[in-house]
Symmetry: C2
Subunit: 187 residues, 2 copies
């Protein structure tokens, strides 16, 4: 599942704006001036009244020095721990490849976080994901050949690689008990 939370984030935007503005120590008047919009507009937005245009919201994001998405999607944070081997294992047809989901794309986020454990054997081939997906892999221990089919590389412990996830790619462990962190980033 990607994002697609049901309702449009009208009041989320309202709260985000106020939060970010106060965090930045700006007055409503000053922020409106910097963003080049009428302060009445900003006032109404923070009141939850209204449905800003992209241009307006963008200008506010720039003026606040905050990524666009922070304004339209709610914050969320908590301490959460998954002990080694305790997370939900992702079903895999190959027994010598186990991916544990550490942090699933929460509503509004854009990456999944996996812990991958694999043994030598048939390479695991992944069909292209959604367009725009980028994968990052950090080898924790062992050795593996991975990357897009055709430009896969051999990596060892401590090595890092990033590659497009929307083309076929593979992961083949070269040593037993090879462990890696995999980030699948949506963008």
């Amino acid at each position: 599942m990607t994002n697609a939370s049901g309702r449009p984030p009208l009041d989320t935007i309202a709260r985000s704006l106020r939060r970010e503005r106060e965090q930045a120590g700006l007055s409503l008047t000053e922020l409106a001036r910097r963003a080049g919009i009428a302060k009445s507009t900003l006032s109404q937005l923070e009141a939850g009244t209204g449905n800003p245009s992209v241009e307006t919201l963008w200008a506010l994001g720039v003026a606040l020095g905050v990524p666009f998405s922070r304004l339209v999607e709610p914050p969320q944070a908590a301490v959460r721990v998954i002990r080694a081997g305790q997370g939900p294992a992702v079903p895999s047809e190959q027994s010598h490849y186990v991916a544990t989901l550490l942090s699933a794309c929460p509503p509004g986020a854009r990456r999944d976080l996996y812990l991958v454990a694999a043994d030598p054997g048939e390479p695991r081939l992944s069909a292209p994901h959604l367009a725009g997906v980028v994968e990052h892999v950090m080898i924790s221990s062992g050795r593996a050949e991975l990357g897009p089919v055709g430009s896969a590389l051999e990596l060892g412990a401590g090595d890092y690689i990033t590659y497009p996830g929307d083309v076929p790619h593979l992961f083949r462990a070269l040593l037993p008990a090879t462990v890696a962190v995999l980030i699948s980033e949506y963008r």
Copy 2:
């Protein structure tokens, strides 16, 4: 630096919409119907004419099953490798703590990726980052005590933790050559 690319992404949105729509194999008419907007509106948006409201763009994101940000920010990807010990080391006052930047927040992204190597000694204390930052840590090898001050936990190889980055937090290695992957996520 966060995001804040200069100009509003009017034509970026245009291209994103067309790309995602064709990728999904939907006709303009059909997508408009599913999103519950007039097809004329969608037509003009894909033509680069117009400045959609958040509600409109949100509806399109939902109908396309695509995170909001994918519509407003351009794609980008490439294969890139950083061999162990080869990345730019982040300056640290403490010699027993080395963070290597694997993937810096590119224009429009919202996370930094670090490889952390540390030895036992004074805990590394981090002042709160920007509001809304979430950190994820995966211990590759060794053992460490980490988390928000007051609720730090002891983790071993393979363990994973996530916690808010906008409160004071610490990282203290308990074994020599403790290695971890750190993701600092902006949201």
